[in-house]
Amino acid sequence: MTLLLIVLLPLVGALLPAWFIRWGRNQSALAAGVVTGTAFALLLSLSSSVFAGEVPRADWTWMSSIGLSLAFMADGLGYLFAFLILGIGLLVVLYARYYLSEKDPMGRFYAYLLLFMGAMLGVVLADNLIVLLVFWELTSLTSFLLIGYWKHLPEGRQGARMALVVTGGGGLAMLAGFILLGNIAGTYQLSEILQMGEVIQAHDLYAPMLVLVLIGAFTKSAQFPFHFWLPHAMAAPTPVSAYLHSATMVKAGVFLLARLFPALSGTELWFFLVTGAGAATLLFAAYVALTKHDLKGLLAYSTVSHLGMITVLFGIGTAAAAVVGIFHIMNHAAFKASLFMNAGIVDHETGTRDIRRLSGLWAAMPITGVLAIIAAAAMAGVPLFNGFLSKEMFFEQAWALEYQFVEGVPWLLPAIVTLAALFSVAYSIRLVWSVFFGPQAEDLPKPPHDPPFGMLLPVGILAALCIVVGIVPVLVAGPMLAVAATATIGIAPPEYSLTLWHGFNIPLLMTALAFVGGIVAYWKRWAIIGLHEGPLPFPEAKRIFDGTIDRLAAFSHGTTAALENGSLQRYLALLVGAAVVAMGWPFLTGSWSAGPGPGTPLDGMSLVVWAILVGAAVATAALHRRRILALVVVSVVGLMLALAFVHLSAPDLALTQLSVEVVTVVLLLLALHLLPKEGPSEDSIGRKARDVGLAVAAGCAVTAMAWVILTNPVDTISGFHLAESYPGGGGTNVVNVILVDFRGFDTFGEIIVLAIAGLGIYAMIDALGVPDRWKIGSPDDEVRYPLLLTVITRLLLPLALLVSMYLFLRGHNQPGGGFIAGLVTAVALILQYVASGIGWTTDRFVRDYHGAIALGVLAAGATGLGAWLFGYPFLTGWFDYFELPIIGEFELASAVLFDIGVYLTVVAGVLLMLVNMGKIRNASAAAPDAADGEG
């Protein structure tokens, strides 16, 4: 529980500083501090068990079927990182309070910071690959917010975007790698995966999996060639840089190397990839750091270089090297966070970070100067400071290599390492000497002085740690290193000695070389910088990145423009073409073929109906511009279909089709009243030919598919429905029983769709504002209705209603039912509208179709709910038979109630649609044809 709280507290607590800012900046900072501090205290409460070698765990099964659980564990490694994240986080919260100016929205800053903190904690405490990945991507997202915090600065926005693209993209590669890893290991549980190193490394997919996972780690930890985002992320406020680039964000990559160390490390491939990338980064970034004039730029490249060093250590793959890697992670976090904050102080108090302008600050900022010297000495690896210890151990490991990059050149890596250390010494000197000593700068934007205590305190604490660890390492860092190293390697770490003096040996010689060379390099720095800025060709990563992004965007724009020119006709043609290809493919490859078929015999009548149907369908297409005629022809298709349903044993369908045909014709006639009666002739021959081709292809594909289906045997589930219809559903019309009982929930949904369509039509006509071209209302005063039709329909109405009642009541046992009866009633009522006008009809019949629709849906729903009263699931049907004198035996079924709901909804929905359409008039009598003049 504690573990979950540690992760959740910053994530949820992120709201607090954003809320407290209304009471002031101190309150907001305090809220952030309290949240961080509480999480820190919770972490410390786990200390005793972690140091005793236990692993506190928390596990909530999430989706067990795919091995997903919300699992956290605090082993030594996770504990160490969580300690760094929360400890340095606390210092950054304090520092940022004084660093941010009045204009900066502080509440938002702390909210982002806490969100990021929670995401980082999730990464380092996760015990499940997928959970780790989710938090990993969260760190990419939240760091995007932090880096782009000063959104008025274009560099901030661009730097944030670049960081997101690179680290987020790496995260995607890592997701693929994790899925492979999970498949190889058969589990996503980290603690299990870590036990399976041999199985994983022997697997065929080890190599691709490793490459994908490493892309994730390298992008995050800014390893060459993915390093370029980190210097651009320096556009962030300095507290962000101090946090992200010392202890957290960029350390996530090396954390991953450490986390998966037992599972992935030790192979030759691992060595070449990891040590190779690390060594290249180490040397290249150390050299570039010396040539940077921006304080934060220098620190950024130095960070990249030190991450390279840690990567090299994990790449070496031995337990001893991994121990050193962990140790340097701790040391680097301390001195780099301190240095970033220091750079922020100089920037804050002088107004510039340009090393060329800064000089002789010692006189004005002595305390800042002392702290800078301490941290820079640690970075350079001066004895008595923490950096010296890990660097010395690093040299020792680089010397004792198992593999070699180039056969016969065992000194290659030691040489690279020494050279990098040399540059490291040089840039550390530049960072201190050029800034704090020498002649006092005259033209600084602000008169420099030491900052407020609140800004110095965090720097001081970290600097003190650098010294204490440097002098008494065993006492201060020993226990933490021991548990973290044990957790990383998976077994007790080999002997290592955290002492200052190891005697005269090769590492000492390398150190000496580095120092002498570093001083010379600093002395000759302008020659190096001149070389760097002048003759040496140096690719500008940002330009390449921007160019790539621009080309990608241009490619996407081009592709989109080529496919989408804004014409719906074209999209539809592409869609139909694609569908035809998809349908045709199985035929061409032979996976679909016709079966023996039952071969239902033909008769003459069927042939006639078929001929009329096909002819009418084709004629509709051919005559579509003569709109009224096309309507008549298309209704012939519908009528033939109804006849076909009669013949093919589907009386219910025939009845439905027939009545729907009537309302459809009325609907389209109403529409034609408002549209031109004649379509324009505008299609080119080519367009027509293309569409005929598509239509024929689609028709053939559908025919072939139907033929294949009809001639192959069927395996239907309808046996159940036929068997249970009468005993279980109380009706003999199986179709109706399926609708109102077996699949009542479907039907319920369908009448709701009908209701929504009716209401939507009403909204489009009336409720959303009437277009200028329309006027809504009854034309009764203008029109004379044909007397004969009026008289006949009035006589027919009771008859038609009787028929619909009959169809409704017998529906459960004979063809009929709510849908059909509803349609028949609707047709009968529409006839009244047609023959007698809206005014007359509305006065005499229902006015409120909205209410009727609601009533229908509610009735059907209430029937369903009624089943609950008797303890059955929603829409369970009930029926029984009763005996009454005179009438005899009769049946009562809940399905009848449900069918009443269907009936009401259908009647009211259809009428709502048609009656509202019937009310539309053209505002000007001549409008319909004139309006379309351009077509």
Binding site: W610, T620, Q657, L739
Partner: protein, 116 residues
């Protein structure tokens, strides 16, 4: 294999309706598209209905002297599909009318669509 059977009539009938429907929905004017939708609806309904296979002279009504029954499930599905199909057509029709009234044209691509 015998091609002169009821199955062939149904298959070609469905194909003819679908083909005519496709041709119509590819036209430039909304009214033609609506006719095409109606035809495609017929084709889809018949296709779905045919998935229960064909039978002549039966009814899905339980009785003691019925020897066999047609498959009732596709029939139930198609019954609601016909009604929903009508609702969809009606909605599309009103959409078409509204677009015509608001845009002044019944071209599917709106004003300027006739030029493409």
């Amino acid at each position: 294999m015998d091609f002169l059977v009821m199955e062939m009539l149904v298959a070609t009938g469905v194909g003819a309706m679908a083909g005519a429907g496709v041709y119509l929905v590819l036209r430039a004017r909304t009214y033609s598209v609506i006719l095409g939708l109606a035809l495609l609806g017929y084709a889809a309904n018949t296709f779905l209905f045919a998935s229960g296979r064909l039978s002549v002279g039966l009814a899905p009504v339980i009785s003691d002297d019925a020897l066999a029954y047609p498959d009732p499930l596709p029939q139930a599905l198609v019954l609601t599909a016909i009604v929903i199909g009508f609702a969809m057509i009606a909605f599309a029709v009103v959409l078409m009318l509204r677009a015509h009234a608001d845009l002044g044209t019944d071209h599917v691509d709106g004003p300027g669509g006739a030029g493409r």
